[in-house]
Structure formats: C-alpha cells, structure tokens
C-alpha cells in the first residue's frame, strides 16, 4: 500500500481549483495552507497499479504546477 506525501504547488491563481481537483481524486487527502499558495497532499493507494493510475491523473491536472515529494513508503 504505497503512501506518499507531497507539497503541491498550484499554477498561479488556481489554488482553489487545485484544492477541488485533488479532493475529487480517490486515495487523496489534501490540507491547504491558510496563508500561502501551497497545499499538502497525502496519497494512499491500495497497490502499485493504482498508484501508477493516480500518477497519470496528476499529469492531466491543469491546475497543478508541480509536486514536491516529502515522504514515501511502500510495503515490501
């Protein structure tokens, strides 16, 4: 069960939209900052295959500028 956490940077001016987009995705928990234009994202997918699917979904988001990974864990 891969668990990752990231700092998510929205495209300029799209923090609210990114919050909506990420919250709508399965296996994602989002915590927006109150005073800065970043969000913390924690993902928890059931297996590697679904992790790959999720990564593809991230690439398609228009509001997401970049993700900085801050933690990674996979069950081996």
């Amino acid at each position: 069960m891969p668990v990752f956490s990231y700092i998510a940077y929205p495209e300029p001016g799209t923090k609210e939209q990114l919050l909506k987009d990420l919250t709508a995705l399965k296996h994602c928990e989002v915590m927006p900052s109150e005073n800065t234009d970043v969000l913390v994202l924690v993902t928890d997918t059931p297996d590697e295959a679904q992790e790959k699917v999720l990564q593809e979904k991230f690439k398609k988001l228009k509001s997401l500028q970049s993700l900085g990974m801050t933690y990674g864990h996979t069950d081996e």
Binding site: M1, V3, F4, S5, Y6, I7, E29, M31, P32, S33, E34, N35, T36, V38, V40, L41, V42, D44, G68, T70, Y71, H73, D75
Partner: protein
C-alpha cells in the same frame, strides 16, 4: 496493513510534508496545526487520574515537548484497566482553549482589566484583612470544590479554620455528596464506602437507584456489562424516575414517581421481613435499630436550623413501622407495581445472589437524602449483604476528589481533617499539627453552602473566595444568589481557568493552573488516592490554587504555618496532612507509594490496601470473627426507621410538571472545560429540555421547537428534545445543566435535606409554554 499502523504511517507522511513546508515557507499556517512546536514522533507517557468524574480512571498523558498531545487509558490502573470514556480520551484538549485566563484580572471602574499577579494577590490579602478588622473574622469565607486537589483543600482549611479562625469553609461537594456523608455517619459512624470496585466483578445482581450510570460512570458501567456478558446470569436493574441509556442497557427498567424511592425502599424491607429472608444471625450480632425526628422541613427559609435526635428502638418496633409500607400501599403512591417491588425484594432476599446497589445524585440531591441513603443500607443490613466481595451498597461519588479533598480533608463548615470542630480532642489535634493556638479554632460551625450564599446576600458575609467551581451557574434559585453576590460591599475573588458567569461577577480573577499543569492528588469513590506529577508547564501567569492560598496566607502574617518551598510544598503538605489520619481505620499511603503507583486505597496498613472494611478477613482495624462495625460506639451498623415524606414542591394545577436536572455523557458540570473540547461540543452543542412524546403531542410541541420552562422563581427558554438522549415519563421534563446560555438553575428551588443540607436539584414544579 492494519488500520492503526496505516494511520501511523500516514501521520508520518503528513508530518514530513508539513515540516518541509515550514522550512520552505517560514510562518506557514495550516488550519488546525500549531505554527510552532510541531509534535515530533517521540511521545512520553506520564500517569495521572482523569480530571472528570468520581470513577477516577487512570490515564497516561502523551507529552511531546511541553504539550500534551494524546491520551491512553492506564492499563496498570485497576479502576479502568486501560479503558476511558469520550471525555477522558479527549481530556487533554481542555488545556488549550483559546480564551484561557493567563493573567490576573482586577475590576477597575466596573470592568475587569489585566493586572500583575502580585498586585492581585496583594489586593486579595488586603481586602481580607480589612474585612476581618471591620466586620469580624466570620465575614470572610471560601467556597471550594470536589475538584480541588487535596493540597488545595488542606491549605484552605488550615488558613481559614486554623489561622483566621472562621468556619466559613464550604465546597460544592455539599450540593453533590453531603447526603451520602450523613448517610454513612448515621448508619456506620464513618464516612466512605466499605466496598470497592472489585465488587463489580463478583456481583450477580446490580441495582442502580436513580442514577444513569451508562452516561455518568461509563467505565464502571462497562465493567458491569463485561461481567454480565461473561457470566450470563447477571442481572442489571435500572430503578429510576426517567428512561435513559442505562435503561436501554439494563435487563429491567422500573420507573418510580420522584421522592417515592423512600417508600419503595421501606416496602422492600417489609417484604424481606415478611418472607423470612432476614439474615437473623447477622442482624442479632451486628445491627441495632434507631429512629429520628420526622416532619423535618425543607430549608427554604433563611436561618433554617435542624438537629436530629436519635432514639434507640428494637426490631419489633421497626417491623411494626414497616406495616405502613406494604407493596400494595406503596404502589398507590409510587407508580411502581407491587409485583415489581416484590421482584426487587426477592433479588435482595435470595441468599445465593450477591447484590450490589449503586447510587449517586438521584439519592443524594434529595430533600430526604440522608434518609434514603439510610434506607438502602437498611436493605443490605437486613439480609447481611455488605462488606464481602460482590455484596455492596455502594455510594458512587460524582466529582474526582469530593472524597479525597472535601470529605477526607474536611473542607466543610463543621469538619476538621480529623473529626469535627465541635469536639475538643479534635480541635486539640488540629491545633498541634497546624501549629496554631487551640483557641483559634472556632467550636461552632457557621454556614453550609446555601446559607453561606444567603449570608453573602444578607451582608453577614462580605468577602468570598471561590475556587474551582461555578456557583453562578449551579446555585439553585440562582437569581437571588447572583444578585446577592453582585451587591455593593461584597468582594468576590474567583480562581478560574476560563471565563465563566462566576468570573464575570468577580472583583478579582486569579489565573489558576489546571490539572496536570501542577502536581496534585485526587481521591475517588473507592477510597483510592491517585497522584500526578506536574506534566506540562503552567501557561502565562497561572499559579496553582495551593500556592495562591499560601501567597495570601503569608501576606496575612502566617509564614510560620505556611513555610514550605516552591519545589517541595506538595510533598510537604501531604506529609503534614497524613498525620491526621494516622490510625488503622484511615491510614494514607506514603508519598513515595503514591508517586510510583497508579493509585493506592486507604486504609493502607502495613503495606496493604484495605479493600473491604468492617470485615476482619480484609480489614486489620476490624476485630472479632465475622464483622466489626467499629465506627459506632456499639460496634454495630444502625438501621434507621425513616418514613416517606413528600417533596418540597410537587406539581400542582398551576405548575403541572416535575423538573428534573442532571448531566449528559459529553459534558462535565457547567461545561467550562468540556465545551472547549471540539469533539464534545460538536456531539452536544447546546442544552435542551426532554419532554415525553405524549405530553409534547398534547401541547403541540415538536422536536426542536422552542419551549419556555416557568417556575415560581424564574423562567428559561429552551429547545425541546423528544426521543433524544433520554425519555422522561409523562408529567416530567429533564434539562442538562452544562449550558451557561440556558441557566436552568434560575428555575430550580433551594430546598435541601435538613440533615445534610444538600440541595435537591431533581424535583421542583414547572409549567411549559410554547415560545
């Protein structure tokens, strides 16, 4: 991955992201997270008794840095064995409300303004001095609490009774446990239960007398449920005036009309005698029979005085007295069927069943509270079911240290740490240990709680120091006592942690340290004293109640009596205090034992706890072969002939409903702590009035609509709750008192038991109107 490990890894992930973000963006704020001091992964666990009810669960507080961040039940504590309730599990959140009082406040030009703590303490001491000089020592008073830590109560008693010389020392346990205390003294000569919580694991039958244990002592109730599940034949009987969660969980729920518990208890005794279930051997050797005065009044007038007179009688007189209480007669006044009365009697009378009776506020907050305590003891004494594992008339305590502080230290007008002010030998002992001249200690008690607030209203008391309690929400007939406290020439000092209606009327507010912010002791229902270290630092200018009293005492010139150092004063006070109890009937555990263990029961004799008192098998202070009720001069337990007398104010044609008040699981007392815990507020945000569905129907009241509750003393508007948390029978309404925005005590009546002086919050007459 199991759920808990997964949650742990996800929290690590979250922490890492937030930590990284904080480095990249200094000052970044996430909703719900502290800006600084993010809890690290390491948690240190420290023990403490829970801050809330009289069960006295042992908790382990998770500390990270200087913050409390988590709670576990302490698996080493025999009380709860690692389990808590929703309040206990979230108790640490009471420390972090945003409006915590961290600075002293002094009223200047009508407004409370912040002031240096030293200035406030100076003012308190000078005002006390001035009041004593102008109006005499009995014009100053202190009103404390069953949530006082033991050293708090000891310092208060020593200062006011020993040094200043006034008996104006009272605590809110007067309106919580006083009837239990007088019940113990009249029946056994000594205070506090003879059994312990282990009775729960041995009993075959549990009967709760007017208490909602599933919500009020939930961890003990869980132990009862566990016993029932594992043994299968165990029965739990809920004997109450309204239907609650406890009724849902019990095997049988029996409803009685308020106040008629007196008659039903006598009817049970009648049945026991009639069916020859009396344990004749036990009664002839260990019981004597007595009667007191009847028609004893209700105390609603100022200066009400009552003194009981005991007369010895015999079994035959007692038997004849009970003929007024046949099940058929009692059915007529109580609403309990004769069949159900006989059913209860059969449970008590069955020689093969161990029976534990539990009670709390239903029997204590009662205008005949002392009597009903006597009457339940009568039942157990007739059948000899007492002081052995599982056979237990057990008086549950409401507050965490009503036993430990108020009852054992004696912070009531007539008491001393050992004995009473009226007895010379007891005054001598106190004077010696306190290092004060004997003539300081006044041999005459002054005022009990209600009279003390009446005296404040009349002007006989001019100065009152209130610690750890909220009387401007809890005094019955509240308007009179609130107006009285606000009169000119009254000086009120309040030691508090959060702004409350009581701090709102204060002249000085002293910021107090809360619970694990200071070292302390609590004593629970089963005579178990529990110690906690100071686990987290005191915020701002807060100071623990004990030290506040010491600071003021020194300013009044009593350095000799309060010499202790800041580092060791709690231990020093414990060592001095326990000298009062140094005999096998009450010996307390030494400081080292209490520091190391999750609670120790007293009497603590030769390194062993006394679990069952008056039984020589378990109690080294008991002599003889089977039982020794050494509290009374005749070494017997006393059965009292107590009749049924009606309530102070029953419903009539103008005010046709009983008003019953009490608590709910989520909130502690007036909610000043629990409402600031998010999960508890979200589960139970506001008070309401429970109305019987049929009554509501006939008045056109629906769930959630607004209702006015009116009595002869005032009125309150509340929201109706129908089929909510509890269900009163027709003709009764119930209101929980945790909500300072809905002051139900403006409606209640200040009637009390003439013997114990404890207020009856469960019965007065009201009418309802759609608002």
């Amino acid at each position: 991955m199991s759920i808990t490990r997964r949650a742990f890894i996800k929290s690590l992930a979250l922490n890492s992201a937030v930590a990284a973000a904080s480095t990249l963006f200094p000052g970044i704020i996430f909703a719900g997270w502290e800006k600084t001091d993010l809890p690290s992964g390491m948690i240190d666990w420290k023990k403490t008794p829970c801050r809330f009810c009289g069960t006295g669960c042992g908790l382990l507080i998770g500390v990270s840095g200087d913050r409390a961040v988590a709670v576990k039940g302490d698996p080493n504590c025999s009380v709860n064995k690692g389990l808590c309730c929703v309040k206990g599990y979230h108790s640490v959140q009471i420390l972090y409300g945003k409006d915590r009082i961290q600075k002293a406040l002094i009223r200047k030009n009508g407004k409370l303004v912040e002031a240096p703590l030293k200035e406030a303490l100076d003012l308190v001491a000078s005002k006390m001095q001035e009041t004593i000089e102008k109006q005499g020592k009995d014009a100053v008073s202190i009103y404390g609490s069953g949530q006082w830590s033991i050293p708090d109560g000891y310092a208060a008693s020593k200062l006011f009774k020993g040094c200043i010389g006034t008996n104006n020392v009272e605590a809110n346990a007067r309106v919580c446990m006083a009837s239990a205390v007088t019940g113990f003294f009249t029946s056994f000569g000594l205070d506090e239960p003879m059994g312990c919580y282990e009775d729960i694991d041995h009993a075959d039958v549990f009967i709760t007398w007017g208490n909602n244990m599933a919500e009020m002592h939930p961890v003990l109730f869980s132990r009862m449920l566990a016993n029932r599940k594992s043994k299968g034949h165990v029965e739990i009987i809920d004997f109450a005036t309204r239907t609650t969660r406890s009724s849902q969980a019990s095997d049988k729920s029996i409803l009685f009309k308020p106040q008629t518990d007196l008659a039903v208890a006598n009817a049970i005794c009648y049945e026991i005698i009639r069916n020859n279930w009396v344990n004749k051997d036990f009664v002839s050797k260990h019981v004597s029979f007595h009667k007191g005065k009847t028609n004893i009044g209700y105390g609603t007038q100022d200066h009400f005085k009552f003194k009981d007179k005991a007369e010895t009688v015999d079994f035959e007189t007692y038997k004849k007295f009970l003929e007024d209480y046949t099940p058929e007669k009692v059915e007529k006044i109580s609403g309990v069927s004769a069949m159900d009365i006989r059913y209860l009697a059969a449970l008590y009378g069955d020689p093969d069943k161990k029976v534990t009776s539990f009670w709390c506020m239903g029997m204590n907050q009662h205008t005949r509270g002392t009597w009903i305590n006597n009457l339940v003891y009568n039942i157990h004494l007739l059948v000899g079911k007492i002081s052995t594992p599982g056979n237990s008339p057990f008086s549950l305590t409401g507050q965490p240290s009503a036993c430990g502080t108020v009852r054992e230290v004696g912070t009531l007008t007539h008491k001393l740490p050992h004995g009473v002010v009226m007895k010379e030998a007891h005054r001598k002992m106190a004077a010696k240990i306190w290092n004060v001249p004997e003539k300081n200690i006044d041999p005459k008690p002054t005022y009990h709680t209600v009279e003390m607030f009446r005296a404040l209203d009349r002007g006989d008391i001019r100065f009152m120091w209130i610690q750890v309690t909220n009387p401007m929400v809890t005094m019955p007939n509240l308007r009179r006592y609130r107006d009285g406290a606000k009169k000119d020439g009254r000086f009120v000092v309040v030691s508090e942690i959060y702004p409350t209606p009581t701090s709102d009327i204060a002249d000085v507010v002293l910021p107090s340290a809360l619970w694990i912010e200071r070292e302390g002791f609590f004593g629970n229902s089963e005579r178990r004293t529990q110690h906690n270290d100071q686990i987290i630092p005191m915020p701002g200018d807060t100071m623990c109640n004990t030290w506040q009293l010491i600071e003021v005492a020194r300013r009044l010139g009593f350095e000799k009596q309060f010499p202790w150092s800041r580092e060791t004063y709690i231990e020093d006070i414990w060592n001095e205090y326990t000298r009062f109890h140094d005999n096998p009937k009450h010996r307390m555990a030494p400081y080292k034992e209490l520091k190391a263990r999750a609670g120790v029961q007293w009497p603590f004799v030769d390194g062993m706890e006394t679990k069952w008192r008056y039984n020589p098998k378990y109690d080294p202070a008991a002599k003889g072969k089977d039982f020794d009720f050494y509290g009374k001069p005749d070494n017997r337990a006393w059965i009292w002939m107590r009749p049924y007398e009606p309530a102070a104010e029953s419903p009539d044609s103008d005010y046709p409903f009983w008003l019953n008040t009490g608590r709910v699981l989520e909130h502690w007392h007036t909610g000043s702590m629990t409402r600031r815990v998010p999960i508890l507020h979200k589960a139970m945000p506001a008070s309401y009035v429970e109305i019987n569905p049929k009554d509501a129907d006939s008045m056109g009241i629906t769930n959630g609509s607004k209702v006015k509750i009116i009595s002869r003393r005032g009125s309150v508007e509340m929201t109706a709750s129908i089929n909510g948390r509890g269900n009163p029978p027709k003709g009764m309404v119930f209101v929980p008192f945790f909500d300072e925005n809905h002051l139900i005590n403006e409606v209640t009546l200040d009637a009390f038991c003439p013997i114990s002086k404890q207020v009856d919050y469960k019965k007065c007459a009201v009418k309802l109107e759609r608002a």
